[in-house]
Symmetry: C2
Subunit: 315 residues, 2 copies
């Protein structure tokens, strides 16, 4: 039996998990992400933590098949990072650097893509060959699996489906600088933004007209309790999500669409809300895609990162 | 040296081409597509034509590595056709039937997908690993190559990018039954439709206000001659195409977008028109995709069909 590591590199912490080649997560821990000096310490810190773990347990290097890492930015199929703004990173070959620091072979991918691979392997997409993953959190990320393999993209930015333009009339810019991106309507932030716009445009009473700052959860809770304005807001969100996922499915035609991220905690009400809009907008031959909620939570990235390494360096 | 056949099955004719394994097209001919009786004669006719060709030249079966076929409908990666309305076909395993009829191994794909593979191999996408192909003809078709492999889709309808919904406000239905599909604005038919709508909405003089039926070529010719109304119509087309291709590129992140079909005969003026809208709508990390015109014309399907067989059955 061989072993390996899956690393989920985030803007504030690095999650490191130790797996056996069957995919059992045997251990996991976190270290802080030190972003000073252009993120120069990040990879040495990861290498030191892995070395300490192996030495402390007397695990020989020969037992390790390799390691995989998910990075919050664009990474192409050859392992070249193309800028991670929130880590301070520019353009460099992360697989080579981390290999030189650890002595182990390395595979790297974009964090949302890698989380998609995790859900494909051990989560909501198990048993499928073709999958679309969308993560609805502070932003909207995505990942696409084609015949069992992750779509990296030529510039390492495959499945940036949060930045499909859904509304050419939008006048407020997205974080990316464009106008009308899916992220502006379907992320947790975007849903709250839509809610504020909606409430400002009507005098109708609503439990959402409260003193404290509105959250995405408040809106779903109010909707579940039957608040008419909350339902009207969510209907807009479902229409945008249905259009987004229909256009992505007409493009890549998956068996399953897996939805993760904080917004997916709303559960089946979210899937039920999206369904009629999805059917309205999707090409008929691609309409057979089923919808599922992500099941690995914050571990999806570590699972997917290890799977990258397992596919490349396992037997 | 081994040899094989690439077959481009259309609604009125079947193009059959004979290749050597280097990809040189040694011969090609056409036979009529007989769609009576649910298209029952189509595959036997193809098999008979191939048999006659081989016997007539004394080519032994052992010289043939296999054959590939592009079909005007959905075909999944396992070779199951999922209806071809204009051939009268339902759901069946085309690779098995054609193998039994010919004695040769068979691979099958959707016609636009297969044409994409041809352009990838020997046309506008040569030398790339990741490509998006769009064919702007009577309809709008597409094909996607991911790391050198054709994206078939779970239901055989990958890259149906003509049916991405670009305009939720559209009140006229698309041929597919939905509203606001790219095909309604970017196909030759769609461009003429937009032109008629535009001319009906203004009193401005235009060379397009002629007696005879308007064609897509008339509109591009008038634009090249500086006709203001033609330019306004084309600007709408470019905006839709730019949005369509931006959303597809933000999803699959290719190195190159290859544009084929009758509308692509407009040439560089089309690419130049799309470019600013593409840059406006595409996610920055995917903006490096370059644009190219298809170069194989009507042979793209035969090349791609043979390439399917070569990848599966060649050395």
């Amino acid at each position: 039996m061989k072993y390996g590591f899956g690393i989920d590199l985030g803007g504030t912490t690095v999650k490191i998990a130790y797996f056996d080649e069957s995919g059992a997560m045997l251990d996991n821990w976190e270290i802080p992400t030190v972003t000073e000096n252009g993120g120069a310490r990040i990879l040495p810190d990861i290498a030191a933590s892995i070395r300490q773990y192996l030495d402390g347990r007397g695990i020989p290097d020969s037992a390790i098949l390799g390691l995989g890492i998910g990075v919050p930015g664009a990474v192409n199929a050859k392992g070249v990072v193309n800028r991670c703004v929130n880590l301070g990173w520019g353009v460099f070959d992360i697989t080579r650097q981390l290999r030189e620091l650890t002595g182990f072979p390395v595979k790297a991918g974009n964090d949302a893509n890698v989380a998609a691979l995790g859900e494909f392997w051990k989560g909501g997409g198990q048993g499928c060959e073709n999958m679309v993953f969308v993560t609805l959190g502070t932003g909207v990320g995505g990942g696409i699996i084609v015949e069992g393999r992750l779509l990296h993209g030529a510039h390492g930015s495959g499945a940036e489906i949060g930045h499909l333009v859904l509304n050419r009339e939008e006048t407020v810019p997205c974080n990316c600088g464009k106008y009308g991106c899916a992220e502006q309507y379907c992320s947790a932030t975007g849903i709250v933004r839509l809610a504020k716009l909606h409430l400002a445009g009507t005098q109708a009473p609503s439990v959402l007209r409260q003193g404290k700052a509105l959250t995405c959860k408040d809106i779903f809770d109010a909707g579940k309790a039957g608040d008419r304005e909350a339902l009207a807001i969510l209907d807009q969100v479902y229409a945008y999500l249905g259009l987004l996922l229909a256009n992505v499915c007409s493009t890549v035609d998956p068996e399953v669409v897996v939805i993760g991220g904080g917004v997916s905690k709303a559960g089946d009400v979210l899937l039920d809300g999206i369904a009629p809009y999805f059917r309205k907008y999707v090409f008929h031959a691609a309409s057979g895609a089923r919808f599922a909620l992500a099941s690995l939570g914050n571990d999806a990235g570590a699972y997917g990162a290890f799977k990258l390494a397992l596919d490349a360096f396992g037997n």
